[in-house]
Symmetry: C2
């Protein structure tokens, strides 16, 4: 199931990036499960990783390799997370990097490994290594959709987006992502790979990625569980405007940051729309808080509430559950008598209690939509933020009671 | 559905407490929905309430009345939570207290009101007031089961327990509780009413209640949602050993605290066993942490994980999800390489990775039980604590997509 997910496989190439997807046979089925990104010389790479303490072996290895210098390849497999695999997991991830480095003639540290899939099984190193020559052979600049498909697990649709900037530089940005379950903001909450042709200083690139992730992937929730393998990588190839470096401030920085944040937001929303079992796409908008942290704390309480999410599934305007969730939000000093809540255009709560002109009929009508906006006005400050989530359906239980690989 | 819930309606009277249940017609169906506790003169009362900021009107009123002096009556209705009802809700709760006070010849402040049921509807004051004379007429010392039944909402079984102390005092303690959904520890997480015939100082009573609740009701989770109406009340009638006051220390204090903690633990476990849609009763035991807070943080991450709970439902030893949940526990500085995890007697993880002698067959066998213990050894301290939860089933979604009153 997926809530209003439309996608385009029309993903523009980014000058300086070649890609390929293929099947290494990690899944029994005939599907691609291995993706490779080749990054041109002179590009800069920024990455954020899961903050789950049980981080997977590839996360450990990728973090280490990233400190060594230029990144040449991103190698991603689906079907196996290489998490909960201890020292052998780290050896396995390293071995795969070494195999690729040997074939491609680069240092093993120039390869960042990524894995997604079942936790607790050892990585099928041989299968992956056997597929590497074919993967290198296939490298092409238009294989973004192939890669997007190869990294899917319980995703029902591939997730990718392209954006082109306006203004003198007209930066190109293309990104892909995967994720449908075990989705809860904490740094980065899935796999996403984004590339731009902009020429960006390392400091600016790091700052742009942090801002973009904080306002997109860190504001989504499918089920409240944080993955062991999440990573989001941003590559700037520098092929566009090679002579003019985007620094940490100025109009070019602002335009690039806006572009990448917009693209990350689209990818993040695609993950929610394809949330396991999702039938509704829900935007939680919190207005007039004292800080953005307050906004996300309130939104997070709603987005992780099984009671709110089952009411959304049932199209039931059971707004008492919304109030109860707001009331348990963490670290927010609420003046409940000032709070108002809207379901789409219908005001359901004002001054902390049922709105005077609210009728059950209007609430039910608002809840029929597949796209719901819950707007919470805290009336105690000036900060606002949006957050995206989905409902909790029978299919979520079915998928997760049956899914192992 | 309920996970291994057996109960006895054999609840012993407590000298100094009379009770009654009746139908006020709040539910359309012919069932009791109103309960009254009458407390003898000279008794002491201690109570804890929800920390949800959207606390219900009766919680506000009960807190206020409790500061006024001796409590004579606890009046509890099911079928309506009187929450999200603003100033009118507080007026309604006060009006019901005044009506009972008028009939019984006591101060309105001697009545504590409690409500549970649908949020956001106004309290049916007239229906409740009309039922009060019958309720007063019916007061008897053996009506604990009637009251337990009258306060049920989505509960499928009544919840009550009786304990009798050993030692010179042989205190009697009886308690009842309700709760099946919107269950997540935060002070008190449901309604519970407990009475003992012990003669206890107010300081000792308050301390005993806090300890007992912290180790029982604050260690359970059905769905992670915190109710607006939770309350737990402990009454000490002083009819036993009237001459000897239990103070804040000494063997009598220790015995009474142990007795009440044990009884609260039994009631708390009954709530989990009757968790909405529950098919399994799960004990999460965390050993060798640096503090009890660390234990409960780790247990809480597991108990609120939809992925762990759906795997439990499927009897699937998907232990990767257990590791991922441990890894996102809040405020715990984990050394993941020291962690071991057991499912019942089967060691699934040692030193932070899959245990050497673990086989899928052994994991599957352990998961077949309806009673599962997940034991997590952090190996970084000496503190231990238990926590209780249930699985997440199709029935949870069905119940909460359909439940409104």
């Amino acid at each position: 199931m997926a809530a209003g997910l439309t996608h385009s496989t029309d993903l523009s190439p980014v000058d300086g990036i070649r890609l390929a997807g293929c099947s290494a046979g990690i899944y029994g089925a005939a599907r691609d499960d291995l993706a490779l990104f080749e990054i041109c010389d002179g590009a800069r790479v920024s990455a954020v990783f899961t903050r789950n303490r049980f981080c997977a072996a590839p996360v450990t290895v990728a973090r280490k390799h990233l400190q060594h210098g230029p990144v040449k390849y991103l190698l991603v497999n689906a079907g196996n997370a290489n998490a909960g695999t201890g020292a052998q997991g780290v050896n396995d991830a390293t071995q795969v990097c070494e195999a690729l480095a040997g074939l491609a003639g680069c240092a093993a540290e120039a390869v960042l490994p990524f894995s997604t899939g079942v936790i607790g099984e050892y990585l099928p190193v041989d299968k992956i290594c056997r597929a590497l020559p074919e993967l290198l052979d296939r490298l092409a600049d238009d294989a973004w959709p192939d890669c997007a498909r190869a990294i899917m697990t319980t995703d029902t649709r591939l997730k990718g987006s392209t954006a082109t900037g306006v203004g003198p530089e007209a930066f190109a940005v293309t990104g892909i992502a995967k994720g449908a379950g075990m989705i809860k903001p904490d740094m980065a909450t899935m796999l996403a790979f984004i590339a731009t042709d902009a020429n960006v200083s390392q400091g600016a690139l790091d700052r742009i990625l942090k801002t973009a992730v904080d306002e997109s992937f860190n504001r989504i929730c499918v089920d409240g569980d944080t993955s062991t393998n999440d990573a989001c990588v941003l590559v700037a190839t520098g092929k566009n405007n090679a002579g003019r470096m985007v620094g940490e401030a100025g109009p070019a920085y602002d335009r690039l940051e806006a572009l990448i944040t917009e693209l990350c937001t689209r990818l993040a929303q695609e993950i929610v729309r394809d949330g396991e079992g999702a039938t509704k796409f829900v935007t939680v908008r919190v207005d007039n808080a004292r800080s953005e942290t307050e906004c996300t704390a309130v939104a997070d309480a709603l987005a992780t509430s099984p009671l709110v999410k089952t009411a959304l599934y049932a199209s039931d305007p059971n707004w008492g559950r919304i109030l109860a969730a707001i009331g348990r939000s963490k670290g927010v000093d609420l003046d409940i008598d000032r709070i108002s809540v809207h379901l789409n255009e219908v005001c359901i709560v004002e001054n902390g209690a049922r709105a005077k002109d609210y009728t059950e009929e209007r609430g039910i009508a608002a809840m029929q939509d597949d796209e719901i906006e819950i707007r919470i006005d805290l009336n105690q400050g000036t900060a606002s933020a949006c957050y995206w989530t989905c409902d909790l359906s029978h299919d979520y239980v079915t998928i997760n009671a049956e899914y192992r690989s």
